[in-house]
Amino acid sequence: MDVAVAIGLTGRALTRALYATGRGVVLVATAALSLVLFIVTTLATAFILLGVGVLLLPLVTPLVRRLTGLCRNVAARCGVPIATPYLPLPPLEPGMFGWVQRCRSILTDPATWRDLLFLLLNTLVGFALGLLPLTLLVYSVEGLVLSTGFWMLMRESGVNFWYGFTALDSWPHAALGALVSLAVFAFWAAVAPHVTAGHAHFARSLLGPSERSVIASRMRHLSETRSDVINIQATELRRIERDLHDGAQARLVAIGMKLGAANRQLRTNPDAAETLLVDARNATASALEELRCLIRGIHPPVLAERGLEDAIRAIALESPVDVEVTTDVPGRMAAPAESAVYFALSELLNNVVKHANADRVSIDVRHEAGLLRAVVIDNGQGGADATLGTGLRGIERRCATFDGTLVLSSPEGGPTVAILELPCALYSPRTSSS
């Protein structure tokens, strides 16, 4: 039993070492390419002054990023994931101006310069660290082959062969050589994965986002979402103001006028007064109806009264398509987040009704490990594109305020799957009875 376990462990260690050696070979290749690309990039940058570089640099940079991408991949396979730090490049505009602009955005991205430094260092580090595992493996195998008898063949052809510090000229010496090569083999098996992991850490220090760029991208995100929030809020307030002004306010004025007229005609023309009073009552009902719609748009009553789960059930009930709702949200979220999720789901469902041509939708909402996750699946025709519709963009922007994300998968022919994720805490047990 123990033997089996030992064999299993040894087998796994050897496999890992072999993989690491293979990655080492890839690293040697990247080292060679690093040298070439370093020289080309440096020249391209220098030639910007001559004009040629303006065309050359935007052509070389994608190659550099492909190479660093390969290094990130190798590192990820060594268990060191590295995030991509590049700033988004603006779309290439036609003409010379576009190239100049692209050059500028490449040159102002700090990641470009860190890449360049990586290329220079990797020429050496990648070569050395990449070659080490292979060298160890080859050397130990060579020793084993020689010490099992090849040394005799060698001696007959008149060459006195040394392995390590042993001259292979007799069987005892050959045995010693075999021991040394076994030791080298064991050393290779133990060290190879660590060598490539070492390179991965080296790569991360230069190819990953620097602390500064992490903070910078966070700040960019915050200022973007902040201005989004301000815009959305201002638009909402304007809409509410307009609705109140054109709706309830106008109705109340009309009611007041009708009541005034009724008052004047109460004695002289009771019939006309009665008609006016009925009109006034009807106008009151319309005003109330408008206010109800407005309130629903600001904060739906069921959401306020029952929370997210029942509010979603309520929109499902009102939807013209079959909606299956499953939920597991054991508590209430903070009101703004709850409202954002509600309106996002409501909008998604609206989209399904309007565009998807679906007859069945499922909505699953659950809260796990500090993350609220809502999945909306429909059996419609698919082909929804978040970059086209303003609705989906709007949902994304609203959720981004809460660091939430919307992921959409909608191949032509369906089905469409929308996944909404929003980090949030639940703060009290549910109060609803259902």
Binding site: T284, A285, I295, D322, S433
Partner: protein
């Protein structure tokens, strides 16, 4: 509200202003009919609905008319779920027309239903193409709509300006199409409304 009801010769046995007191009053006094607001202290959420549901769990069939600033199909479904009648769910706006409102109260007290036309029209808009409701003719649908609002055959006949016999024929046809076994007529009416709300075949208990 108390004044309005007294002017229509109702005797007010209790008037309470919060959720727990309401539930207490409902189950101890067991009024002939109760008029309940959805939002009440202490939390101003849905105490009225919760109290009404709980009271009817304890005293099945206790007639309750729920009033609200807004009507929700979700709540309507919950209120109708026990299928025992004597339930109403209206917008507060309906109080403006006091005759119709008092009529609704009396209907609920008599074991009937009074659903707000808004609930019904939302349902019509939402689920009209679903089985088995989709098998109903437009006229039958109209009759079912009025039935759901709580109108009697006489009232429906008056509204649609047809004979009572015709209405009886429509209702029978509706019951058959919705697969409701012949039983106590008023119970069947509630079940028909339920079928309407669920958009599926109502379970006949």
């Amino acid at each position: 509200m108390v004044q309005l009801l007294e002017s229509y010769d109702f005797e007010i046995v209790a008037a309470v202003d919060n959720g727990p007191a309401l539930l207490d009053a409902l189950v101890t006094i067991r009024p002939e009919v109760a008029v309940v607001d959805v939002r009440l202290p202490p939390t101003f959420t849905d105490e009225g609905i919760q109290a009404a549901l709980e009271a009817r769990r304890r005293c099945p069939g206790l007639p309750i008319l729920v009033l609200s600033q807004h009507v929700e199909q979700l709540y309507a479904k919950e209120l109708l779920a026990d299928a025992s009648g004597g339930i109403g769910y209206l917008l507060k706006d309906r109080v403006l027309n006091s005759d119709q409102f008092v009529d609704a109260i009396r209907r609920v007290a008599g074991g009937g239903t009074a659903m707000d036309p808004q609930v019904i029209s939302q349902l019509l808009a939402g689920r009209s193409r679903r089985e088995p409701l989709s098998t109903l003719t437009p006229r039958e649908r109209e009759v079912l709509k009025l039935m759901a609002e709580g109108c009697s055959n006489v009232a429906i006949a008056q509204r649609l300006i047809v004979s009572q016999g015709a209405i009886a024929k429509y209702t029978t046809s509706i019951f058959t199409k919705l697969d409701l076994a012949p039983a106590d007529d008023s119970n069947r009416r509630v079940l028909a409304v339920l079928a309407y709300l669920n958009g599926t075949r109502a379970d006949v208990s």
